[in-house]
Structure formats: structure tokens, C-alpha cells
């Protein structure tokens, strides 16, 4: 019979007290698991998404973080828009001409290179504000999927699991083609060829519905684990043609889109440039120094601001998220420690009635170290056993609340997702080994069990065999 078996027997002998102490430990570990997993996975998701394929975001003056959150992560609400002409400042005359031709928009005058065009290698406009069910609708140009490189090593960008990228205009669907992310497709059951009708400015089902301008789904993106999985991308030209998407201009007709021939989408006229606005511009710069140059120049003006999304994401974590995580983690570790104290109290209280059993084992030849070991093993079994239950409970909780977390943050978390490794920890591990922070729970629990088990174990160690036997 092993010392483990003896320890287990001692635990089962005090069934209720053991179950309660293990339960208190499981609650502590459940909270630690939840904090580590939720924070770690959200942080990883945000950091992973910092490989955006562009360096800068230009948007209306206002909160930098809000601009990043609503442009990169499709969270929060966009505030103001930028004139379309500002977007054109990032294009060469040639690029402007090509786009205007593709869009069938009139060209009133001689085109010139944009002010920032020489520092820009790629600029993509995005228009936000509408929803399809609970998902954001993003009006943009096909170059978002055609020209963005996400993985520079393999020179790959966005992939489609079904269908193709949308086009600016074609005979079949006119300006109204759309592409959806994998979560949108899975959740809504949308298939290629289905119609997508957006709601204006809100995900509320009672909001205004753009049923005059249904988009035709032509492509479904491969799952990328990014916010793009839960977004609907529509052709910007079609986006402009939806009701109330035209910027009112003094002296102009109120609703330009209503001039279009209803029902014949292919023949609807594109929105004039003066009525166009963009919410943000995604910019890939042409040189390593260009981000600083563009940022300084734009931010000095009154029209717009430019932010470096990666810097904002890191700042968000450093200033807000990490301290909150630290506070939560300290609280949950204190809970675990209090649970550990309950193990100490439970075992220590049982020591007086167990002195006799310890003396009998000593009389049978158990050494002081062996009886001390048995008590420590009891502490470890209670601590680790309760902790494992808590760990499983924590993941069950993540599985149960995963959809809510995803809806709020865009980060998919399920039962089988474990917290990623910590850079602070990885720095101390050899051979580039990376260990999930969750795997530190077990050694942490063992250490805690040894600390809290030491006092009762030492009591067992010091038991006077002859006295305990004679007093029985």
C-alpha cells in the first residue's frame, strides 16, 4: 500500500470536511482559470490582430482608441466621417483615375497626386455604421482583400473558403455584392447567392432597414480568428447608394440615391464625390519613416487624425487591461490562499484525533518523514484535486459564457481554449519553451499545499509515539 493510498484513505475518512475544503479550493482555481483564460485569450486575440497588413488609420478627430477599436476590432461606435477627397490625398493621380473609372464616377477636372501619395503604398477607405443582424457592415473596396498582405513570410492575404471577392460593378449584381466572415456565415446560415439587407446605424431589429438595397453574397472568408470573421463586407459603391448614406450638401437634392431608377440596381447611378464620406482610411506606408511623416502632417491639420493602431493596442493593454488583470489575479490568488488556509485548518483540527493513528503507523515502522509525507500528500490531494475540479469548472464556465464574451469582445472562447503563454514567463524558460499560464496552476497548488500542509505535517512529525499509544 502506497503513502498516496494512506493519504487518500485519511481524506475519505473525513468525507464532508474534505469535500468542503476541496470545494473552496475549486472555487478559487475556477476564478484564477477564468481570469487567466479570458484575459490571456483576449490579449492574444488583440495582439494577433495587430498584424493588420497596414500601419496607420486615418479618421475623424477624436479618441484615438475609439478609432482603433471601431476600425480594427469593429467595437465601439464611429463618431464622425472624413470627406472622400481626404481619402484621395493618399492616392496618386493615376490611382484616382483608375478608381473613378471603375466606379463610373464623373471626373470633374484635372487629377493631381494626393498630398500623402508619395508616402503611401496602399490606402483603403472603410465606411461603418450599418449592421446585418448583430454583425458590423463595412463598406470598402475590393482591394482590402486583393492587395493586403497579412503574412509577409508566405506573402498571403485573405483567403476565401467559398466564392470570390466582391467587385465594384458587374452586370449580374451591379454595385451590390458582399463578402462575409466565417462566423457570420456559420451563425446566419448565409450561402453564396443569398441576399443581405443591412439595418441603418444599429443592430436593433427595429432600426431602419435598407431593404431598397439588398446585397448579394458572393464570397465567404476563411476563418482567421480575427474580427473579420464576424463582419460583413459590402462594396462601398453599393453602401453609398443605401438610403441616408449620402452626405447632405447645401443646394443639392436631398436624396441623391432616390434619383436612381428603383428596382434596377445595375443601372443606379453612383453617388457623386461631393456626397461621399469615409469613416476611416487604412494606410500602408511606403517607407519606414513615412508613418511618422504622415502622422505629424495629418495631426497638425484640422481635418483628421492618424493613429498607429499597434501602438494604441499596446497602450490599451499597458494602461488599462494589464492593471485590471493584475488586480483580478491578485484577488483570485488571495482566494486560493484562503482556501489553502481552510485546508490547513481542516487537517490541523483532525490532528489531535489522528495522533493515535500516526502513533500506530510509527509503531508499525513508519518513519517520522513517512507520516509527515502522508499529511503533506493529503494536503496536496485536497489542493490539487479541488484545483482540478475548479479548472474544469472554469473551462465549463468559459464554454457557457463564450458566446457572450464573443459578442462583447469579438474573441471566440470555448471550453477547450486555454490561456496562452506569458512573455514574462517565457523569458525564463530554456530552449524557447512556451507554457500556458494555466499550466502553472498545478505547480502553484502543489507549492501552496506544501506551505499550508507543513504545520499539520510537522505536528505528525513530532508525535510522541509512546505517549500517543499509552493514552489511547
Amino acid at each position: 500500500m502506497s503513502l498516496w493510498t494512506i493519504a487518500w484513505r485519511n481524506i475519505t475518512q473525513r468525507g464532508t470536511a474534505s469535500a468542503l475544503t476541496a470545494f473552496s479550493m475549486s472555487l478559487g482555481v475556477l476564478l484564477v482559470t477564468a481570469v487567466l483564460s479570458v484575459h490571456g485569450l483576449i490579449a492574444k486575440s488583440f495582439m494577433d490582430n495587430s498584424t493588420l497588413g497596414y500601419d496607420l488609420i486615418a479618421g475623424a478627430k477624436g479618441g484615438k482608441l475609439q478609432l482603433v477599436l471601431n476600425t480594427v476590432f469593429y467595437l465601439s461606435e464611429p463618431v464622425e466621417n472624413l470627406p472622400y477627397s481626404f481619402y484621395q490625398e493618399f492616392l496618386t493621380a493615376e490611382q484616382q483615375a483608375a478608381e473613378l473609372k471603375d466606379m463610373s464616377v464623373e471626373n470633374r477636372g484635372k487629377l493631381e497626386d494626393g498630398y500623402y501619395a508619395s508616402d503611401t503604398s496602399l490606402a483603403i477607405p472603410v465606411c461603418l455604421g450599418d449592421y446585418y443582424k448583430r454583425f458590423r457592415v463595412i463598406g470598402t473596396l475590393p482591394k482590402l482583400f486583393d492587395d493586403i498582405t497579412l503574412d509577409y513570410e508566405n506573402n498571403t492575404g485573405y483567403d476565401f473558403s467559398e466564392g470570390r471577392n466582391f467587385e465594384i460593378w458587374n452586370e449580374e449584381n451591379g454595385y451590390f455584392e458582399a463578402v462575409v466572415g466565417s462566423i457570420v456565415a456559420n451563425e446566419t446560415g448565409l450561402k453564396i447567392g443569398d441576399k443581405i439587407v443591412a439595418t441603418h446605424g444599429s443592430s436593433d431589429e427595429n432600426a431602419d432597414v435598407h431593404d431598397d438595397s439588398p446585397f448579394i453574397l458572393v464570397g465567404i472568408l476563411k476563418s482567421s480568428g480575427t474580427p473579420n470573421d464576424r463582419a460583413v463586407f459590402v462594396n462601398m459603391e453599393g453602401f453609398y447608394l443605401m438610403a441616408d448614406h449620402s452626405k447632405p450638401v447645401e443646394g443639392d437634392e436631398e436624396a441623391v440615391a432616390s434619383e436612381n431608377e428603383a428596382g434596377v440596381k445595375a443601372k443606379r447611378k453612383p453617388l457623386p464625390l461631393k456626397n461621399r464620406e469615409v469613416t476611416a482610411i487604412l494606410i500602408k506606408t511606403a517607407s519606414p519613416f513615412a508613418p511618422i511623416a504622415i502622422t505629424n502632417q495629418v495631426n497638425e491639420g484640422n481635418v483628421a487624425q492618424v493613429v498607429q493602431p499597434i501602438m494604441e493596442i499596446f497602450a490599451l493593454f499597458k494602461v488599462i487591461v494589464d492593471p485590471i488583470k493584475t488586480v483580478l489575479l491578485v484577488l483570485t490568488i488571495i482566494i486560493c490562499f484562503v482556501s489553502g488556509i481552510s485546508i490547513l485548518v481542516s487537517i490541523y483540527n483532525s490532528m489531535s484525533e489522528r495522533k493515535h493513528d500516526i502513533a500506530v503507523m510509527r509503531a508499525l515502522g513508519a518513519s517520522r518523514k513517512a507520516v509527515m509525507g502522508i499529511v503533506l500528500l493529503e494536503s496536496i490531494l485536497l489542493s490539487v484535486g479541488g484545483g482540478m475540479l475548479g479548472w474544469i469548472g472554469g473551462h465549463l464556465m468559459l464554454g457557457a459564457f463564450g458566446p457572450t464574451i464573443e459578442a462583447k469582445t469579438g474573441v471566440a472562447i470555448g471550453f477547450f481554449d486555454i490561456a496562452p503563454s506569458s512573455k514574462a514567463l517565457d523569458a525564463y524558460l530554456p530552449f524557447g519553451i512556451m507554457i500556458s499560464t494555466e499550466f502553472l496552476i498545478i505547480p502553484g497548488l502543489i507549492l501552496l499545499a506544501i506551505i499550508v500542509g507543513f504545520l499539520p505535517a510537522y505536528t505528525a512529525y513530532k508525535t510522541d509515539v509512546a505517549n500517543a499509544l499509552n493514552n489511547s
Binding site: 485519511n10 493515535h356 503507523m361 509503531a363 508499525l364 515502522g365 513508519a366 499509544l469
Partner: protein
């Protein structure tokens, strides 16, 4: 096999004064010999067994078992000696209440360096007539059955010496003889030396060698002196 020489043992009283308990000039038991020590309660019988077992340490003198002086061993050495060479049957059985009869017997082998032998534990419980009670915990066993489990546990590690401290004192008369027979037969079969302590005359009468404790321990007073 067992040789005790010049053993002295005192306890400290609450007022700090020493209370001498044992003064044994010489005491010997041969290999496979079975003997009984008789004496009244409180005259040092249990203390003497505990000194022989290394549970208590003597103030001076030597206790040699198979030539090994356990008084010179470290505490760890005495633990090992008990685990491997000694069996002990207690007056109050001292079975662990959370363990089954089988596990209590296994416990007798747990602390030896040899691996635990489940077959031997099973065989011993069969030998004491408890093959049908192996999975029962002590509280569901009769007093006689509990003492039989205790005997099986004491024999589990194939000891060279078995110490039995009033093994029938808490057993009903119907079971007393069965317990004594069990202990004696088992010791005979496995050539184990037996030192039994009792104050029951009917038990002592069955042994060839009966030693009153006062013949062994100078500090033990004869029963007739107790008024």
C-alpha cells in the same frame, strides 16, 4: 535472539523529579522461543515491550536482537528495524478505523523496503479465519475479529520477534483461547520468537516459560506487596 542487559528507564514526573520504571540487569529469549511475562498493571510491562520495540528509548543499557543493539540505532534505524524485524500486538488492537481489514494487514508491510505482498495479506486473513471479512472496516468487526486482524497485521512483515501486550485483555472469554492459539501456532509455523505480557493466569499456564516481571525488572514489586 533477544538479549537485554543493564537497561534503565525513567520517566519525568510533573514536578521534574525522575520516576524510575525499569532496571533490568539481564533478560534473554531464544530464537523461536515462546515465553510469557506476568505482572500486575502499572509495573512497567508495556514500557519494557516499548523499549524492546524501540518505541521508547532506554536511558542506558542495551537491547540486542539477532546481535543488533537497537539502543545504538538512530530513530530512523529503529523505525526500519520495527518495520522489518518486529511484530506488535496491542492490548487495544489499534486498527486504523478508516482502513479495511485487508488494508490494515497491508499496512503492516507498507513501511518495509520489501514490496507489499497482497497474497500474504490475503493468506494471513484466511489463516485467522477472516477471509470473508477482508473488506470490512474495524467498526463492523467483532472484538475478537479485530484482535485477529491485529495478529495478522503483526505477522505481515514476517517478523523475527513478536511482542504481544495483553492480547486477550479486551477479548471476550470465548475468543481468548482462540487468539492465544492463533498467536502461538503462527509463531511456531514461522519460527518467530514470542514475548507475551499478560496478567491472566489461565493464559500464562499454557507456556513452558513464565517469568514474573519482578524477576526481570528490579523495580517491579511483587503482587503480594500491593495492598
Amino acid at each position: 535472539m533477544l538479549l537485554i542487559e543493564d537497561i534503565h528507564k525513567s520517566y519525568t514526573q510533573p514536578n521534574g523529579a525522575p520516576l524510575p520504571i525499569l532496571d533490568i540487569p539481564k533478560f534473554e529469549v531464544a530464537a523461536a522461543e515462546q515465553m510469557v511475562i506476568v505482572g500486575r498493571s502499572g509495573c512497567g510491562k508495556t514500557t519494557m515491550l516499548q523499549v524492546i520495540a524501540g518505541i521508547s528509548t532506554a536511558d542506558s543499557g542495551s537491547v540486542r536482537i539477532d546481535g543488533l543493539d537497537i539502543c545504538r540505532l538512530s530513530e530512523e534505524g529503529r523505525d526500519k528495524f520495527r518495520a522489518e524485524k518486529l511484530g506488535y500486538v496491542f492490548q487495544t488492537f489499534n486498527l486504523l478505523s478508516g482502513f479495511t481489514a485487508f488494508e490494515n494487514v497491508m499496512l503492516g508491510m507498507t513501511f518495509t523496503r520489501k514490496s507489499s505482498d497482497r497474497n500474504r495479506a490475503r493468506h494471513l486473513l484466511e489463516r485467522v479465519g477472516l477471509e470473508h471479512r477482508m473488506d470490512h472496516k474495524p467498526r463492523s468487526l467483532s472484538v475478537g475479529e479485530q484482535q485477529r486482524v491485529a495478529v495478522a497485521r503483526a505477522l505481515a512483515n514476517r517478523p523475527r520477534l513478536l511482542l504481544a501486550d495483553e492480547p486477550t485483555a479486551n477479548v471476550d472469554p470465548a475468543n481468548q483461547q482462540a487468539i492465544i492459539d492463533l498467536i502461538r501456532e503462527s509463531c511456531q509455523e514461522e519460527e518467530i520468537s514470542l514475548v507475551m505480557v499478560t496478567h491472566a493466569v489461565e493464559v500464562a499456564d499454557q507456556f513452558q516459560r513464565v517469568e514474573p516481571l519482578e524477576n526481570i525488572n528490579r523495580l517491579a514489586k511483587p503482587a503480594k506487596d500491593v495492598a
